[in-house]
């Protein structure tokens, strides 16, 4: 267990199990990437190694449509949503977890109950609200409604409750305001859980499809998941292009995960979801 003997029989057994499960899990993604390098004639075939490796699909994706623009849009929208959501949620969670005020339980219960509302059920009313505010076909329309989500508040509150009570007492005695306590005590302590939540929020927003499709038609605002849909024409779907676009769209999140996997998992672990 101490790491001095890495290749024990037990470790090898664990490694074999782990590798089998891991390979089985990523196989569909490998398949997607392989398909993206196949020619149109071969894309539906089942050979793991393409008989002819082509980069045309990727060239098509980037030269035939402004895919880079779509990706920048996604990056901007998902990034901004993540930052604003973390900011607002940590403020709300701080109040719910560590400040006393009448009606606190009721407010929390109300917020918690919105966790159960899913988009298809309220899509049209939400659109009506957004239209009333004049936000159809704007970045604001993509960003603002995506910020508010009880999940993050809920998790942050759980985390703040578990922090020791003495934390802000000294600061309060020193006459520090609540904003300063939030800024200089609570926020720094939240770093691990914020990092973990940032990953979840970013993934969710990078991957969202129905809302951007519903709220925008201006091509300058098109995000990457909607962009993929433009490769599927009315009756014919060119799978080689679709797979290439899907690969490109998945790449940022995959790269992010591969490079930061240790930090991400560590921060999720330290965050102690409960």
């Amino acid at each position: 267990m101490r790491g001095e003997r890495r290749w024990t029989r037990r470790n090898v057994a664990l490694l074999v199990v782990g590798v089998i499960l891991g390979l089985g899990t990523i196989f569909p993604l490998v398949w997607m990437v392989v398909g993206a390098f196949k020619t149109a004639a071969e894309v539906n075939s089942s050979s793991l190694i393409p008989s002819e490796i082509t980069f045309d699909n990727f060239r098509y994706v980037f030269t035939q449509v402004p895919f880079l623009r779509y990706m920048l849009n996604s990056l901007f929208v998902a990034g901004l949503v993540t930052v604003l959501a973390l900011w607002f949620h940590s403020m709300a969670a701080y109040a719910l977890a560590r400040l006393r005020f009448p009606g606190r339980e009721t407010v929390f219960l109300l917020i918690f109950s919105t966790l159960l509302v899913s988009l298809p059920v309220i899509l049209i009313p939400t659109f009506v609200v957004i239209r009333t505010l004049g936000l159809v076909d704007s970045y604001a329309g993509l960003v603002i409604p995506a910020i508010f989500n009880a999940f993050g508040i809920f998790l942050l509150r759980q985390f703040y409750i578990s922090l020791p009570g003495e934390l802000e007492e000294a600061a309060l005695v020193d006459g520090a305001g609540y904003w300063r306590i939030y800024r200089s005590i609570i926020l720094p302590l939240s770093r691990p859980i914020m990092a973990a939540l940032a990953v979840f929020f970013f993934l969710a927003n990078w991957n969202s499809f129905v809302w951007p499709l519903t709220i925008t038609s201006n091509p300058d605002l098109r995000v990457v998941q909607v962009g993929i849909a433009t490769f599927q024409q009315q009756y014919v779907s060119d799978w080689n292009y679709v797979l290439a676009a899907a690969t490109v769209a998945a790449l940022p999140t995959l790269l992010m995960f591969f490079f930061f996997q240790k930090q991400i998992v560590e921060s999720i672990k330290t965050a102690g979801f409960k």
């Binding site: 890495r6 037990r10 470790n11 664990l14 490694l15 499960l21 891991g22 899990t25 990523i26 398949w31 075939s45 403020m91 709300a92 560590r98 400040l99 006393r100 005020f101 407010v107 219960l109 917020i111 918690f112 919105t114 159960l116 899913s118 298809p120 059920v121 309220i122 009313p125 009506v128 609200v129 603002i144 508010f148 009880a150 508040i153 759980q158 409750i161 009570g165 007492e169 309060l172 005695v173 609540y178 904003w179 993934l203 991957n207 499809f209 998941q225 797979l243 899907a246 998945a250 999140t253 995959l254 995960f257 591969f258 996997q261 998992v265 999720i268 672990k269 330290t270 102690g272 409960k274």
Partner: protein, 315 residues
């Protein structure tokens, strides 16, 4: 609820002190509301208001072209007598009772595996989580691609073992199971990570002590791991239930369109179909409101059981 309690007034007799305390409490109250303002306003406008609108819509006949008639509870009466609705409820329940325990068990098992120290454990952990980083649109397309009859890679592999003619997405008896499998594949890593976080919180000395007492692996799991994981378990059960009921739409949407022969017509897909394919916005809103109400009752119960959403066993 034992949260931060600013210094208690021991000397309550002194009026100045209590005036100061009252002042302090007022300040705290005001700060709390200010902190809550952005999120509660946002939730109110972008979730609460649409939800109220959706509930209201459930009492109207809405055709999607601006024509609205108040019809009282007729949508609800129709729902009760709609065999498709009940069929969707049944399918959703089957989906739920297979998927939630599976996500729980597989997520926990994987967490226990990658919690061990063995060579390349980091890479294995990444591989298991990675499907969660892909959009559902892509997930659905890739699996549809792989599960194709005859030609798909899965069927090719099966044919090496003499199993032929399986249609994972075309046989009513298999399609839902296939969806369960794909959902499990793409979500298990997420729950694995959540469980990993929970396992992290269990003090290592407990295991040392149990080992000294001669407890086997299974005994240690039963006596220590499982009970001490209860907070995490509750969290996983609640979030996966909600995710399973309200999610799943994209998969059905791309892979099966509710088919074959209605076998994968989940309730959430039926709502979607009524609203956007049939333009029955009022009826869709009525079903949606019912779904929300059921979920509210369910989570209310969970809320009570877990003592106000703090899943830590009353610690």
């Amino acid at each position: 609820m034992s949260t931060s309690t600013p210094v208690l007034a021991r000397t309550a007799g002194r009026t100045q002190r209590s005036a100061h305390l009252a002042q302090q409490a007022k300040r705290e109250r005001r700060a709390a509301w200010l902190f809550l303002l952005p999120d509660s306003l946002g939730l109110l406008v972008f979730v609460g208001l649409p939800m109220v609108l959706a509930i209201a819509l459930g009492f109207f006949r809405v055709d999607g072209f601006g024509n609205i008639d108040f019809i009282g509870g007729a949508n609800y009466v129709r729902m009760v007598g709609d065999p498709q609705f009940w069929s969707s409820v049944r399918i959703t329940l089957i989906y739920l009772v297979t998927l939630v325990p599976l996500l729980f068990a597989v997520g926990l098992a994987l967490a226990l595996l990658v919690q061990q120290k063995f060579p390349f454990v980091g890479a294995v952990r990444s591989a298991l989580f990675v499907p969660y980083a892909i959009s559902l649109v892509v997930v659905a397309m890739v699996w549809q691609f792989m599960l194709g009859d005859r030609v798909g890679i899965v069927n090719q592999v099966l044919s090496w073992f003499g199993v032929e003619g399986t249609s994972f997405l075309g046989q009513p008896s298999l399609a839902l199971a296939t969806l369960v499998f794909v959902t499990l594949w793409f979500q298990m890593g997420y729950y694995m990570v959540i469980f990993l976080a929970g396992l992290q919180d269990i003090p290592g000395e407990y295991y040392e002590a149990a080992r000294i007492d001669g407890a086997g692996a299974w005994q240690r799991f039963r006596a220590i791991t499982f009970p001490l994981l209860r907070p995490t378990s509750f969290f996983v059960l609640i979030t996966s239930t909600v995710a399973v009921i309200t999610g799943g739409l994209d998969l059905v949407f791309i892979m099966t369109k509710g088919g074959p022969a209605g076998a994968t017509s989940l309730l959430i897909y039926y709502i979607y179909e009524q609203a956007f394919l049939f333009g029955e916005l009022g009826y869709a809103a009525a079903i949606g409101s019912t779904l929300i109400a059921v979920l509210l009752i369910w989570s209310g119960l969970m809320f009570l059981v877990t003592k106000g959403g703090r899943f830590d066993d009353g610690r």
